[in-house]
Amino acid sequence: MSTGSTRPVLDVRGLRVEYRGDGRSVVGADDVSFTIGAGEIFGLAGESGCGKSTVANAVMRLLKPPAEITAGSVTFGDRDVLAMDARELRAFRWREIAMVFQSAMNSLNPVLTIGEQIGDVLTTHDKLGKRAARERAAELLALVGIAPDRLKAYPHQLSGGMRQRVVIAMAVALKPTLLIMDEPTTALDVVVQQEIMAQIRELQRALGFSVLFITHDMSLMVELSDRMGVMYGGRLVEVAGAEELFARPLHPYTEALMNAFPPLTGPRRELTGLFDAPRTPDSCGFHAHCPDDRRDCSTRIPDLREITPGRWAALTPAGGTTP
């Protein structure tokens, strides 16, 4: 999908987030740049601690001290998200960008019914009356395939998959332009996961919002996303169209992440998994398992370079790549 001509929905440029402790600081995200076009599903993949959730929270301005955005810009449409004050943010969140959190199933209030919780969003943000809010809540539930009589149900009376759908329905209640989903199906089993994914696709087609989709599951991401980025150690190491990236990963980390999941087809072969070492100032933590000669990577992960049009990878020019 080309996003070159039209203005992107979200434009993140050179984003750097640091977690400051006493005397030292940890870089959560470093020089992260990507754009999401209208109606596009953009995926961010990577292992725990690679900074993918940090990026999502930075875009929503949800980071609290000790985390701090120290460089870069986040532009949503033509507005500078990093410059918004508290009042503007209140109007911006949920209406413009909505988020489905990692443990979304547990983010529902256990002592309120589903109807009350969805209604709450509508009466607060849309200033709807009680009756109108209830009707709209029923519509939203129908949108995610839940019968309207479940409005009276409490969260514990629903299965994990249904709770996840309710949370998604709440997220799209105000017709946001961008939906951020941080590992939306991690706690669900595969059958339910596939149904939720199909649901998200359907909703996305019907309502036309863009999606920033975060997961560690490469296969899932390739199935859902149009374009995707792979993060490692706080930096993007590869950005490309999802299918291209899957068919021919350019960065060794992308390839390693794809090989971290035992496949369901083909002959059984030994997998090595990912390297289990922290990233330090003098080692990217990964180079020891790098198949090619990348001496330059040990000090820092290189900047993204456009290898072929639309395909970016963090490879040093002398790294022996044959694009």
Binding site: D217, T265, R268, G273, D276
Partner: protein, 335 residues
């Protein structure tokens, strides 16, 4: 020779208040064999009863009926009240959550020492060091507290603790599902190495079919408390017979199969599984009878069997008429 056998294992749980007489049948008439030097995977979705089987084998739950045979002896009959020390040192378990299974106030050496001392083994430093090295940790980690270790390292400690008493059966209940992607394969490789080096018999419980295919020699598919299909792992995954197995496999995201995805077929499978009464493949026999095992093939010396009428030889259909009117499967299915 089969080490641990389960015969017709059934487990009911009470539901509702303490006065309620309602029961949910979590495991219904399961037969399973665990052989030395082989990994048997038990796959199925959440709530299908996989963990209940492991807990019954670890003797954390008392089965409602059925037999657990260790070397041919029915331990539920000979050790009525609780498992004997012999049983516990033969059958050990690794739990799902390494963050919850290690007491945070003790150092790593404590967990291993406890296991050794309780079973009457000497717990000298060399022995502890050998154990930690066997699971891919270093001996200096013996002095660490659990919070100093990563999830993958903690799970390795849990494995070392289970191995301390020299078991011949290891029950691993979703040992990788709480771990980060970067260390999952490492733990799977560890389990595989232990199977080969120690000749361990392993029950590997998971809902991750890819990992079952990677690690397990035999795979059994569980649905609503019953085993519906089993056989050589590759045979079951590559040529699934039961509608439920096919549903499970079709739900696993796999970009290489992107083109082969058939939405209508998927809807049919789902209907077959969720409402057996209206199985589109059913000719009327499913709704009234319980299917028995039919062998559909043989791979690597193992029969590939399935419990589904679709595979019954036309003239040799052995039906068992459904005994109770309200079958407990309905409740588990709805959950």
């Amino acid at each position: 020779m089969t080490l641990l056998q389960i015969r017709n294992l059934t487990k009911d749980f009470p539901v509702g208040s303490v006065f309620s007489r309602r029961r949910v049948r979590a495991v219904n008439g399961v037969d399973l064999d665990l052989d030395p030097g082989r990994v048997t995977a038990l796959v199925g979705e959440s709530g299908s009863g996989k963990s209940t089987i492991a807990r019954c084998l670890a003797r954390l739950e008392r089965p409602t009926s059925g037999q657990i045979l260790l070397d041919g002896e029915d331990v539920l009959r000979t050790e009525r009240r609780r498992a004997s020390r012999t049983y516990r040192s033969t059958v050990q378990m690794v739990f799902q959550d390494p963050f919850g299974s290690l007491n945070p106030v003790h150092r790593i050496d404590h967990f291993l020492t406890r296991a050794l001392v309780l079973h009457g083994h000497p717990a000298d430093r060399d022995r502890l060091a050998a154990l930690t090295e066997e699971v891919g940790l270093t001996a200096d980690m013996l002095d660490a507290y659990p919070h100093e270790l990563s999830g993958g390292q903690r799970q390795r400690v849990a494995v070392a603790r289970a191995l301390a008493v020299g078991p011949s059966v290891l029950l691993a209940d979703e040992p990788t599902s709480m771990l980060d992607v970067s260390v999952r394969v490492g733990v799977l490789n560890l389990l595989r190495r232990l199977r080969d080096e120690r000749g361990l018999s392993m029950l590997y419980i998971t809902h991750d079919l890819g990992s079952a295919r990677y690690l397990a020699d035999t795979t059994a598919v569980m649905f609503a408390g019953e085993l519906v299909e089993g056989g050589d792992s590759l045979a079951v995954m590559d040529a699934p017979a039961h509608p439920y197995t096919r549903l499970l496999l079709s739900a696993v995201p796999d970009p290489t199969r992107r083109t082969g995805y058939d939405k209508a077929e998927r809807a049919r499978l789902r209907a077959a599984v969720l409402a057996p009464d209206s199985c589109p493949y059913d000719d009327g026999t499913c709704s009234s009878t319980i299917p028995v095992r039919h062998t559909v093939g043989e791979d690597a010396g193992q029969p590939h069997w399935v419990r589904c009428h679709l595979y019954a030889p036309a003239h040799d259909i052995a039906h068992r008429v459904l005994q109770s009117a309200d079958s407990p499967e309905a409740e588990t299915t709805a959950a």
